[in-house]
């Protein structure tokens, strides 16, 4: 951490700001270009036309107002799961369990959404949102506590808890909370009340605006509060943190809970803004995409937003691509893996953009092993 004297910051011009944005964004941008190029080679080899495929992908994501709105809608839960994973990274934890936390968030918000009747919208919708967020937070407390008290590595416990969450939510949606209306045979909850719905302002979904606010809130919490400072310190060096008098176990559990709250929030917004009920299988993959997004965004809350828009656009446009160019949707997964590879392997990217001087940016480092170090 280098100290920047305040009088220099005051003089910063628009050009300086742009320069710093470029400095932060150049590796991801080059990574995306490289990944798309390799993706094009894969498409060519498998007999598809990459120009046509990418054109259809772009058309499907940004073609008109409705499609753009769909892209924002797709990006919204991704921002949340990306923030969740990024936040845990800051505390030195790898939360692969965003998926499970998100499922609980989605289910509890649906339950509060259809179970409570007669509330005005300005109470009911926030209540269901917060309920979902809290459910995600509580669920994430489990791996946090297991890590601090038994040393069980969160990578494994969170993965296992994803399977457990999938089973429990499936049971609830097929049992106690099942939609019992005539003609329904699948596992799903009833539709939520209109007062729990989250709509949109013109073409911009309100959920997207909430997501932007949460990204700002996460940045503020991490950078401007004592708690955030403690979390970042624990993430960098637990021994130093303990020596400085920070209560490490408490901080780790708290970081996991906040991470889970963010994931649960994403699930709740997906239920109340898009799906309108909980149905098993409708939220699958959102939590795992959060890992890719957090890493492409270099674990920064503001980096998560463009990363989510990118992945959201790929998801929104992939159906059109499949329809127009006959290319299977899953190619976007391959491209995401390649983006992740190039972002992490910034040595390669730096070599390509001929920037050999060390700018002092820290590389992506998450863990130094299984041991609780």
């Amino acid at each position: 951490m280098e100290e920047t004297p305040t009088h220099i910051q005051k003089q910063s011009t628009v050009r300086d700001v742009l320069a710093s944005v470029w400095l932060a964004a150049r590796v991801p941008i080059v990574a995306v270009v490289l990944a798309m190029l390799i993706g094009a080679v894969i498409l060519l080899v498998s007999g598809a036309n990459p120009v046509q495929a990418y054109a259809a992908l772009f058309e499907g994501a940004f073609g008109d107002a409705a499609k753009f709105s769909r892209t924002l809608e797709k990006a919204t839960p991704l921002i949340f799961s990306g923030l969740a994973v990024a936040f845990a990274f800051k505390a030195g934890m790898f939360n692969i369990g965003a998926q499970g936390q998100l499922l609980f968030g989605a289910l509890v918000s649906a339950w509060l959404g259809f179970g409570i009747k007669g509330l005005p919208i300005y109470i009911h919708a926030p209540l269901a949102l917060l309920g979902g967020a809290m459910a995600g937070g509580l669920y994430a407390a489990i791996p946090g506590a297991l890590k601090t008290f038994t040393g069980a590595h969160e990578v494994i416990t969170t993965i296992m808890l994803n399977f457990v969450a999938f089973n429990i939510t499936d049971y609830l949606a097929d049992g106690p909370l099942k939609d019992l209306s005539a003609g329904n045979i699948v596992a799903r909850t009833p539709l939520i009340e209109d007062t729990a719905r989250i709509g949109s302002l013109g073409i911009i979904p309100i959920g997207f605006l909430i997501a932007l606010a949460c990204a700002f809130g996460t940045w503020w919490l991490l950078r401007k509060t004592t708690t955030g400072f403690e979390i970042r310190t624990v993430g960098i060096n637990q021994y130093a943190a303990r020596y400085a008098g920070i209560r490490v176990p408490r901080t780790i559990i708290l970081a996991m809970v906040i991470s889970g709250i963010l994931a649960g929030f994403g699930g709740a917004i997906e239920t109340q803004g898009v799906i309108g009920r909980y149905q098993p299988g409708f939220n699958s993959g959102l939590g795992f995409d959060g890992i890719t997004i957090a890493l492409i965004g270099k674990t920064s809350p503001f980096g998560v937003i463009p990363a989510s828009l990118l992945v959201g656009a790929m998801q929104a446009g992939s159906s059109q691509m499949q329809f127009n160019a006959g290319v299977a949707k899953e190619i976007t997964d391959v491209i995401q893996a390649l983006i992740l590879f190039f972002v992490a392997a910034d040595v390669i990217v730096r070599w390509i953009i001929r920037s050999r001087k060390d700018t002092g940016e820290p590389g992506l480092a998450l863990s130094s092993g299984w041991g609780a170090k």
Binding site: T148, V164, V334, Q336, G369
Partner: protein, 345 residues
């Protein structure tokens, strides 16, 4: 983290057999308990008991291979959370080659080769590029998921799968015969590999070097061991084992491929490796335990004897993994340089 109090007497002070007992007593008690239950039930319902045990062996095979894959890498100092991806792509390529050539041997080899290539990719990322190893594994997982999803076309018909080889004589022993000596080839190979890797790791020069590189790479380097090369080879061979686990799924167990068919087995294998204290024999025992839990789950689910929602039975292996991990990982000693890229001076 919560530092555990150091044992009052160092373990090395005990004679070997006591040391061994102190290390493995929990596993021994468990094995003894399970054996008693098995013998009891074999007297009551021999058919079901045999079926459950056969299923245990089947379920545990991909877990052992996955655990051996992770173990080789981590003993050399490279964390591999990409086992899931290595299994999945190995399963897919093995299946494709079987569809194209109708030659099961070629198909298994193709699966192994695929896993080894992904191992090479992981080694390149973590040893040469020094990317964070957790990210490297995640790249492999997403890449495999994407590639298999993209290239998979529905309706490919399999050309048969590996059949059981009955070892005459031995297979006629009651209970153990049909369980141990009437299995398809990859299952036999897996048991052989457990002992082979145990021998190689602990009784050969190669194994000593592998462990040295994982514990103290600088010291190993000083003694003239090529740290990078040892890590490369171990991760590549491990990858091949992961690919074999995948080939087992498509060519021996199921006989066909479906998207995402590994279904978390690669991650359970990681837990198995840790529970087995980074030893092949320990991993074998742990994998049998998880295989047993899965077999019991299937039996309970389709036996229809008890009235519990299937979702609760379905999460049995995962809950067991968490409980076991929470109870045991604190007592596991992890290779000291695990997960840390080595920088030459």
């Amino acid at each position: 983290m919560t530092a555990r109090p150091a044992p009052s007497t160092p373990l090395a002070a005990f004679p070997p057999w006591q040391r061994w007992l102190k290390r493995w007593w929990a596993g021994l008690v468990l094995a003894l308990g399970i054996s008693i239950v098995i013998v009891y039930y074999y007297n009551q319902v021999p058919d079901i008991t045999t079926a459950v045990l056969r299923s245990t062996v089947r379920q545990s095979t991909p877990l052992i291979l996955g655990a051996l894959c992770g173990l080789l890498g981590e003993r050399a100092g490279v964390i591999n959370i990409g086992i899931e991806g290595q299994m999945l792509l190995g399963a897919f390529v093995g299946f494709l080659v079987n569809v194209w050539t109708a030659n099961l041997f070629l198909a298994v080899m193709a699966g192994i080769l695929t896993g080894a290539l992904l191992g090479l990719l992981l080694a390149f990322m973590s040893v040469t590029l020094k990317i964070d190893q957790i990210i490297g594994g995640t790249v492999i997982n997403i890449l495999s998921l994407g590639l298999t999803g993209y290239l998979y076309t529905a309706g490919l018909l399999t050309e048969g799968k590996l059949q059981s080889i009955r070892i005459a004589g031995l297979a006629d022993i009651p209970l153990f015969g049909p369980v141990l000596f009437d299995n398809p080839p990859i299952t036999y190979a897996t048991v052989f590999l457990v002992f082979l890797i145990h021998y190689v790791l602990f009784y050969t020069k190669w194994g000593l070097r592998t462990r040295a590189v994982g514990e103290h790479p600088r010291a190993a380097d000083t003694l003239g061991i090529n740290v990078y090369l040892m890590r490369y080879w171990n991760v590549i061979i491990g990858g091949g084992l992961g690919g074999l686990a995948g080939a087992f799924l498509t060519l021996e167990a199921v006989g066909s491929f479906e998207r995402g068919m590994t279904n978390g087995r690669g991650f359970v294998a990681l837990a198995v490796m840790i529970f087995g204290k980074y030893t092949p024999l320990g991993a074998w025992g742990a994998a049998l335990l998880f295989g047993f839990a899965t077999a019991m789950q299937t039996q309970l689910q389709f036996g229809g004897k008890i009235d519990i929602p299937h979702q609760f039975i379905g999460m049995l292996p995962y809950v067991l993994t968490i409980v076991v991990l929470a109870g045991f990982v604190g007592r596991t000693r992890i290779p000291a340089a695990d997960g840390i890229p080595y920088e030459k001076e």
